[in-house]
């Protein structure tokens, strides 16, 4: 997976699909392009030797978040009017500012260059797993309370009262 051709191919597809997310007028199409974007991004992470991040990307983003957007559109489609338009000049401006900012940070902050090498040190899924269940077991347990509360909240807020 060290071939730069694969990297550039995926990067090209990534930019293309993200442009399609922004440019498509229909929210259904936009959300499916978003799924494509997440998948290509996962591929890009794989070429950068980050399999754990890549899998997280697929499970969390294209698996859960994109599906959630589609569900939201499906359930509210009758009532809401989704018109994707306008703001193009502002969008281009914000994107330009953001890109310049990121380039400045990468150029000026040496830590980012060191950070890129951290990926290249082999199987990080195993490393993440081991540290999650040894040194970071306590924070991991706290997430149990967090998820329990979120679950209760979803039930309480969504439950209809009997009339």
């Amino acid at each position: 997976m060290n071939s730069p051709i694969l990297f550039y191919l995926l990067a090209f597809l990534l930019i293309g699909s993200s442009l399609m997310v922004v440019l498509s007028k229909d929210i259904y199409r936009a959300s499916f392009w978003l799924v494509g974007f997440f998948l290509f991004f996962a591929g890009l992470l794989l070429t950068l030797h980050a399999p754990f991040l890549a899998l997280t990307e697929i499970i969390v983003y294209s698996g859960a978040i994109a599906v959630m957007i589609i569900f939201a559109v499906m359930l509210t489609g009758k009532y809401a009017n989704f018109e994707l338009s306008g703001y193009s000049i502002a969008g281009v401006l914000i994107a330009a500012i953001f890109i310049i900012e990121i380039m400045l940070i990468i150029k000026d902050v040496p830590e980012f260059k060191n950070f890129a090498f951290a990926f290249a040190s082999g199987s990080n899924a195993r490393a993440v797993g081991i540290s999650l269940f040894s040194g970071y077991l306590f924070p991991f347990e706290i997430t149990a309370i967090l998820l329990l509360v979120a679950l209760f909240g979803a039930v309480v807020l969504a439950k209809r009262r009997k009339q």
């Binding site: 000026d108 970071y136 309370i145 509360v149 209760f152 807020l157």
Partner: protein
Amino acid sequence: MIIMPYHLSDFAVIVPELIVAALMLILFVVDLASKNRKKILSSISIAGYLAALLYSVINFWPAVQKFGFVGQIFIDQAGNFINMVVTLTAILAVMMSRDFLDRENIKDGEYYVIMAASVISMQLLSSTHNLIIVFLAVETLSISMYILTGFFKDKEKSPEAAMKYFIFGAFASAFLVVGIALFYIYSGSVEFSGIAKANAEGLLFIVAFFMVMVGILFKIAAFPFHSWTPDIYEGAPTPVSAFMSVAPKAAAFILLIRFLAIAVASITVQWQNLLWITAVFTMFFGNTVALLQKDLKRLLGYSSIAHAGYMLVGVLAFNHLGNAGVLFYLFGYVFTNMGAFAVCEYLSKKGNEDASIKNLRGIGYKYPAAGVAMAFFMLSLTGIPPTVGFVGKFYLFSAAIDAHYYWLVILGVINSAISAYFYLSVVVEIYMKGDAKESSVWLNSLTLKYVIAIGIAGTLIFGILPSLPFNAAISAVGIL
């Protein structure tokens, strides 16, 4: 082979959290088992919080920091102090909820379960130097608060407030987590001590600092991240507003003090400049906008913004007296603010929650006890002796004078003078001749009356004899 780095002795460090976690699970099971007797849940809650409170009181001394779970969490006097404040607030909030939920026809027992979860998160927040635990605790706290805010499902305002809070809170959490990630990239550590070792000159360090501060200042409701407060206090059930105005702030303030004193100690001058502006704007915003309020709960919302501003003055002083002053202020604020909200709840009508100040007209003659209590709490919020509000402000401002922040103290005193106008106008309304337009049925609840009585007792006793909690606070801020 994975070697477990934990021992059984690590659990001694998280006993208060474990007590409340057990309480949470018991509440959940009892809620399932008991169909219609929800009052038993409030009794169990009070017993559980009381146990956690007593544990902190008994184990307050000696002044050491005991670490556990590879240093990710510890127990110390400051943590114990905040644990007392939080559990005390929770007890009073549960007492306020007991008959209120009945009257408003809220039958979901999850109310008490979620409140217990929020208490755990605040206990964690007040006893860690680890930004990962900070983030998880802040998220748990925020999510529980969103849900509690939206518990009035019948009313339009309550779910709307929950939604607003959720959107604002999600932004603040995003800032916090990006800030933590940047700190990790820059210094290779999520521990305060590791961050402190990093070179603070870098651009990334400053950006990370700002982003983490956004997350913390949002929880404190300081300027410019205050705008959610009044709407949420107005929309939420009154006991939840009361709980929210005291307990999360206590946890966030001790976190702020620890973060500023340890993690970013190398840029003390810069953060002091930043906080100076924040404190002044927070005080002025809270007090001047409160002048325009017609609704009692909104007024208390703006007043809580202003009080966060006073406490920021103590943080800014950055000395023992200032930090201890903040802890003492929080302690006094429990009695005063919970009391004020309790009177507000006592005088509210079923369903029609919006307690307009005009509706208070003449209640000083009709309900002498409630009138006197409200007047007393308003005096304490203004900061007039012999109340705990006065003593708290005195400590905060004298700490600022010790640190040579003369202008800040002058601005703070001007703000107290402004605040006297709207607090005392409530008192004037209470003792105005004549009746309110709408005759009202008061919430007749024994536990609610106890809350008002505890509020008065605490405000008065610690206003005259502040030395016991203040000495505890002074000792607590010795080790942060």
